[in-house]
Amino acid sequence: MHDSILTYAKSRYLWISLILLVGAIVAYVLHDPGGPPNGGTWLGYTLGTISALLIVWLMFFGIRKRQYLHNVGTLRGWLSAHIFLGSTLILLVLLHAGFQLGWNIHTFTYVLMLIVIFSGFFGLFAYLRYPSMMTRNRESATRDAMLDEVAEIDQNALSLADGIDPKIHAVVLRSIENTKLGGGVWTQLRAHDGSDLALESLHKALADREKKTESKTAEMPTMFAMVDFLAERATDKQGDAMRKLIDLISRKKSLATKVARDIQFQAMMEIWLYFHVPVSFALLAALIAHIVSSFFYW
C-alpha cells in the first residue's frame, strides 16, 4: 500500500540514523582526547572515516537509481536511507571536527556538504508538497493534452478574429506570439506566460464597439432606423464573434496558466537537483583535498 518515503518501513532508517547519532554523541562526550577534541584523535578518525564512506555511498545513489536490474532493496528504501543517513552528516562531521571551524579547506568542505544537504532538504520539501498541487492543478488532463488544446484554441481564435476585423486579428496573433510556455529556468520557475495581454485589448475593443452602437441608437433619426437596423445585424454578428473570441481567449488563458503552473511545479521538483548533484561532486573533490591535506598534519 502507499506510504511516503519518510514513513517507509516504519521509518526504519530514521531510527538507524538516530541510533548512529546518539552513539556518536555518547562517544564524543565520553571520549577524553587529552586536549581539545579534533579530527586527529581515534574518535575523530573513526567519525571522519564513517562520514567519508557515507558520502561516497550517498553519491552512489545516482548510479543505483539507474540500475534497473539491481535488486538489493527497493529504490524507495534506498532513498529513505539516503535522506535520513545523509542528514546525520550535519552533526557527525561537526563531532568529527570537534566543532573547530575556520577559513580553511576543511571548513570549506563542510560548507559544500551543507549546501548539498540543504538543497536535498529543499528537494524533500518539494517532493512532499508539489505532487498533490500538481494533481489538483491538472484536473486529470495530461500536459500534452492541454498544450494541444491551447494550440487548437489559437487556431480557432485566429480564424474567428479573421472574420471580425484585421485589427483584432493582429491583437490575437500578437497574443499567440506572446504566449510562451516553458523556456529558461527563470521563466519556468516564475510560471509566467504572456497570454493575458490579448484579453485586455479585446475587452477594450468590445467595450468601444458597444459604446459606439449605444450612442448611435440614442441619436438615430427615425428615417434611417430601418436601414441602420439591418446594417446593425452585421455588426451584431461581429459582436457575437467578439464575445466568442473573448470566451476562447479566456479559456486559453486559464489553460496556459495551468500549463505554466504545471511546468513550474515540475521545475521546482527538479531545480534543486542542479545544485544537489554538481555540488556533491565539488564536495567529493574537496573531500579528497581535505583527506590528502590532513595527512600533512602527521
Binding site: S4, Y8, I63, R66, Q67, Y68, L75, S132, M269
Partner: protein, 804 residues
C-alpha cells in the same frame, strides 16, 4: 452452358491459392474464383511494407508456391509469379454468391451472373468476410474507397468517412489533420468504438475539426463532371435530405461474416457461438460431400497451415494418401507415451481412454494434439501448485493423479483416474489454481493450452456440457464441503444452474427475499448498500467465491446488492436444497458462519468510511474488476520523475510498456496506461500463433513466436500493447554517465536512419511484469518515493481503507 471443372476453388488466399497451384501442377482441370481483381485479398490489404511472419517455424511448408517470412510485397510478388508460372486458371472479379449441389457435382453462381460447374469445391474464403459496401447507387465509383492505407496521402480534400466503428474513427481523425472531414454515423452515438476513439471523435466534432451527421445514411452517390468536386453524396438524415460535395468517400462499415454464406452452402456449424468452426473430416471435407474447407474458415488461421492444407486437399480429392504435414510433429509429440507405435494408434488410444475427447472429429483431435503436450510425470511429481496462475487443461490418458485438498494432511487427497480431466477451474475462472496436483503411478497426461481448449469448448457442445457438469460438482465440493460425498451433493448439484450477467447487471438487490446463493465462476461482483440515498460499494467478490449465503443463513432478506463488475458467470445454487445440505453437514454451518462474521466485520469497516467505496467504484469503472494485478500511482507521492517508464524501457529492450501520465485520476489515485493482466485477457482472444500466455505467477506475456499481426493491440481495451521493432543495442550506464556515450537510461537508443533498409519485423510488446527478473516489476522497484504499487482487486477494500 457453364464451364465444368474437376475442382473449383473459392477464394485465392493462402489455402485456395496453394490448392489451385497444386491442381495446376498436377494438370487437373480447375478454376480459382476470386472476388477481387488481385490474389489473396486479406494479405493484399495489409499495410504497405508490413512484415509478414511464417509461424509456426517447426512446420515444414508443402506447397507449389513459395512462402517465406518477409514484406507483404515480396510475398505477394512471389505468389503472383508462382500463379503465372503454373498457369493457374484464375477468374478475378468472380464473387461466388451460392454453391448448390447438382447431380454429381456443384454449381457455383457468381454475383456477376456467371456460373461454373465443378465436381469438387474447395472453400478457402477465410474469416475476413466481404467488406460491407455503402449499399446505395454509386457505391463502386472510383472516389469511393473501402480502405485507407496512408492518411497523409491526401491533402486539402473534402472527405466523407462513413461508419462509426474504430476503423472509421481512426481514419477520420487521422485525415482531419490535412483535410476537411465529414463523418457519417447511422446512429446517434459512437458507442461501438473503443473509449479512446470515442473520446477522440467526440472532441473533434465538438471542436469543429470534423463535421458529423448523426442518424444519417447515404442514399446515393453521384460523380460530377462539372465543378471542382469529384462527386456528391445525398444523405438521408433525421431532418430530411442533405447533399455533400466531396472529393472522396471512405466507407468503413466492417464486413459481413462469411458464416451466413457458408451455411447457405449446406455446411453445418456445431452451435451459435461465433467462434465455432464447421466440423470437417481429417481430409478437410465438410458435412456436404465433395465440399472441402481449408484455412482460417476451418479454424486454421496461420498462412503456412492454410497453404499446406491447400496442397493436401487436392491430393485427397485425387484419391492420394498423403501423410499430413504435421505427422512428424505428432510423432515427436507422442514419442514419450509408453508403448507408442504409430500416430494413428496413439490418437485412437487417446479417444478410447478419454471420454471428453471422444466427442471430437479426428482432424480436431490432431489439431488439439498439435497444440497440446504429452506429459509423463514420475509418481509424486508436482503437476501444478496451488495458487499458480497457469490455465492449461489436463486430460488423463493413463494412470492417475492426486489432488491435494489440505497441504498439511497427507490423507486429504482425491484421486482422479484414467479418462478424467482436471485444471478446468482455472481455465474457466481465469484465476489461480485452487489445489496442488501430484502425479500418481503410470501417469500419462495431455496438457492443453487455454486457447485450444476454449476453441474446443466453443465448437463442440458435448465437451462443454461435460466440463460444465464436472465444474459445478467440483466447485461446490471444494468451496463448501470437501468432506461430502458426491451422493450428498447430488441434490444441490442437480438443481444448480449456470447464469450469465453483463457488467452492471444486478444478481439480487438489497431488501429482496433470498432464495439462492451464487458461486462466482468467471468475472467478479461488487457488494453495495444504499446508504443515505447513495450506493456505497462495500466489497469486491472475485471468481471462486460465493455470495447470497447471508439471507439463507438466518436473515430472510438480502442485506446488500450484488452486481456484476464485469461480464460474469455464476453457478446459482437453489436455496432449499442448499439448506438441506447445511443441515446434513453440521461443520458446513460453522464454516459459513465464520466466514459470514468476517465479511460482516469488513463491510462494517467500509460502511464507516463511504469514501473508500468511491475509490473502489472508480477503480472498477476503469475496468480494474477484471484485472489480476494493476499498477496504481499515488499522485500525492509521485514526483513525476518517470523513473518507472525509464526502468520499464531499460529492462525491456528500450520500449516502455507503460505510460505514466496518461490515464484517469481520482482522489490522487492514478491508473496509468499499463497492463492489468486480466483474468480473461482480451489480447489472447484472437492470436493466430497463440503467442500470448499466462505465466505461473500470473503475468500475461507475449512469446517470441508473435507474428506481429496487431490483433492483440486492437483487442486490448486499455491500449497497453504496441507494435515495436527490436531497438539496437546501446552502451552501458557508466559509459553514458561518465563519457556521455549513447542515449541515457530510458531514452530510445539512437538509430541510424536508413531509408533503404528492409522493413523491420515489428512484434507486439506489452508488460510482462518483469517475469524472469528477480525482485518484481521494475516500475514499482524503481519508484523512488513509493508512489507506484501493483495490487490485485482482492486488495481494493483494504487499499481503499488505507487511504483515509
Amino acid at each position: 452452358m457453364a464451364e465444368r471443372f474437376k475442382i473449383a476453388i473459392v477464394g485465392s488466399g493462402p489455402g485456395g491459392l496453394s490448392a489451385a497451384a497444386r491442381a495446376a501442377e498436377r494438370g487437373v482441370s480447375h478454376v480459382l474464383l476470386e472476388a477481387e481483381d488481385h490474389l489473396s485479398n486479406t494479405i493484399y490489404r495489409y499495410q504497405k511494407g508490413k512484415f509478414v511472419m511464417d509461424e509456426p517455424g517447426i512446420l515444414p511448408l508443402r506447397a507449389p508456391v513459395p512462402f517465406k517470412a518477409g514484406s507483404r510485397e515480396s510475398i505477394l510478388d512471389a505468389w503472383n509469379e508462382g500463379a503465372q508460372k503454373l498457369k493457374i486458371n484464375t477468374k478475378h472479379k468472380h464473387e461466388v454468391s451460392a454453391i448448390k449441389q447438382s447431380g454429381s457435382g456443384f454449381v457455383l453462381t457468381c454475383t456477376n451472373g456467371q456460373s461454373v460447374e465443378a465436381e469438387f469445391v474447395v472453400m478457402g474464403i477465410g474469416l475476413q468476410g466481404n467488406i460491407r459496401k455503402l449499399g446505395c447507387p454509386g457505391e463502386d465509383l472510383p472516389f469511393v474507397q473501402y480502405q485507407l492505407d496512408d492518411p497523409d496521402e491526401y491533402e486539402g480534400e473534402v472527405i466523407a468517412v462513413v461508419g462509426a466503428g474504430d476503423a472509421a474513427i481512426e481514419n477520420a481523425v487521422a485525415l482531419s489533420k490535412q483535410n476537411n472531414v465529414i463523418i457519417i454515423n447511422r446512429k446517434d452515438e459512437f458507442a461501438r468504438a473503443k473509449k479512446g476513439n470515442e473520446a477522440a471523435i467526440l472532441k473533434a466534432i465538438e471542436d469543429g475539426t470534423i463535421e458529423c451527421y448523426y442518424n444519417s445514411g447515404p442514399e446515393r452517390v453521384d460523380a460530377l463532371s462539372v465543378g471542382r468536386k469529384k462527386g456528391r453524396m445525398i444523405l438521408n438524415t433525421a431532418n430530411g435530405k442533405a447533399q455533400i460535395l466531396l472529393d472522396r468517400i471512405i466507407a468503413r462499415l466492417g464486413a459481413t461474416a462469411p458464416r451466413g454464406f457458408v451455411e447457405g452452402c449446406g455446411v453445418q456449424f456445431p452451435n451459435k457461438d461465433p467462434n465455432s468452426v464447421p466440423a470437417i473430416s481429417s481430409q478437410y471435407e465438410s458435412n456436404v460431400k465433395g465440399l472441402y474447407i481449408v484455412g482460417a474458415l476451418g479454424g486454421y488461421p496461420l498462412i503456412k497451415q492454410a497453404m499446406n492444407q491447400g496442397y493436401e486437399v487436392v491430393e485427397y480429392i485425387l484419391g492420394e494418401k498423403v501423410e499430413p504435414a504435421d505427422e512428424p510433429l505428432l510423432k515427436a509429440k507422442f514419442q514419450p507415451m509408453p508403448g507408442f507405435r504409430s500416430v494413428d494408434e496413439a490418437l485412437k488410444k487417446v479417444q478410447a481412454n478419454v471420454k471428453l475427447l471422444s466427442h471430437i472429429t479426428p482432424l480436431q483431435l490432431r489439431e488439439f494434439m498439435l497444440d497440446s503436450e504429452i506429459r509423463t510425470p514420475a509418481a509424486g511429481e508436482v503437476i501444478f501448485k496451488r495458487n499458480d496462475y497457469t490455465n492449461t487443461f489436463f486430460s488423463i490418458v493413463d494412470g492417475e493423479v492426486q489432488i491435494v485438498l489440505d497441504e498439511k494432511d497427507p490423507k486429504a487427497r482425491v484421486t482422479l483416474r484414467r479418462g478424467e480431466f482436471f485444471g478446468e477451474m482455472s481455465l474457466i475462472s481465469g484465476r489461480r489454481r485452487s489445489a496442488t496436483v501430484l502425479a500418481g503411478p503410470g501417469c500419462v497426461l495431455i496438457e492443453t493450452p487455454r486457447r485450444s481448449m476454449n476453441r474446443l469448448i466453443s465448437s463442440v457442445e458435448a465437451v462443454k456440457r461435460e466440463i460444465d457438469e464436472v465444474f459445478i460438482l467440483r466447485a461446490v465440493q471444494s468451496r463448501f464441503a470437501p468432506e461430502a460425498t458426491s451422493q450428498q451433493l447430488m441434490d444441490v448439484v442437480s438443481t444448480a444452474k449456470l447464469e450469465k450477467f453483463k457488467a452492471g447487471d444486478v444478481l439480487f438487490s438489497e431488501g429482496e427475499p433470498g432464495d439462492c446463493l451464487h458461486l462466482v465462476r468467471t468475472g467478479s461482483l461488487t457488494i453495495s448498500r444504499n446508504i443515505g440515498g447513495k450506493d456505497v460499494v462495500l466489497s469486491y467478490v472475485a471468481a471462486g467465491n460465493y455470495v447470497g449465503e447471508m439471507a439463507l443463513m438466518g436473515e430472510s432478506l438480502r442485506s446488500a446488492t450484488a452486481r456484476a463488475a464485469i461480464a460474469t458467470e455464476t453457478v446459482r445454487l437453489d436455496g432449499e436444497s442448499f439448506k438441506k445440505l447445511v443441515n446434513k453437514i453440521p461443520i458446513l454451518r460453522l464454516r459459513l458462519q465464520a466466514e459470514y462474521r468476517q465479511r460482516a466485520a469488513a463491510n462494517l469497516a467500509m460502511q464507516a468510511m463511504p469514501s473508500g467505496g468511491d475509490i473502489i467504484s472508480f477503480l472498477l469503472a476503469q475496468g480494474a474488476g477484471e484485472a489480476t494485478d494493476i499498477l496504481l500511482i499515488d499522485e500525492s507521492l509521485c514526483v513525476r520523475c518517470d523513473n518507472c517508464e525509464k526502468a520499464c524501457a531499460e529492462t525491456h529492450g528500450g520500449t516502455s510498456r507503460l505510460d505514466r501520465e496518461a490515464g484517469p485520476t481520482y482522489a490522487s489515485v492514478h491508473v496509468p496506461t499499463s497492463c492489468r493482466h486480466c483474468e480473461h485477457p482480451h489480447c489472447m482472444k484472437d492470436c493466430p500463433p497463440d503467442a500470448i500466455h499466462r505465466a505461473p505467477n500470473g503475468e500475461v506475456f507475449i512469446a517470441d513466436n508473435c507474428i506481429g499481426c496487431g490483433n492483440c493491440e486492437r483487442n486490448c481495451p486499455y491500449g497497453v500493447i504496441h507494435m515495436a521493432a527490436k531497438p539496437p543495442k546501446k552502451p552501458g550506464l557508466l559509459q553514458w554517465l561518465l563519457f556521455g556515450r549513447g542515449s541515457g537510461p530510458g531514452e530510445a537508443p539512437y538509430e541510424k536512419k536508413n531509408k533503404d533498409a528492409a522493413p523491420k519485423a515489428k512484434k507486439a510488446v506489452k508488460c510482462d511484469m518483469c517475469k524472469g527478473i528477480s525482485g518484481g516489476p521494475a516500475c514499482v522497484r524503481s519508484c523512488p518515493t513509493g508512489a507506484a504499487i501493483r495490487i490485485s482487486p482482492e486488495e481494493f477494500p483494504a487499499y481503499a481503507q488505507s487511504r483515509r
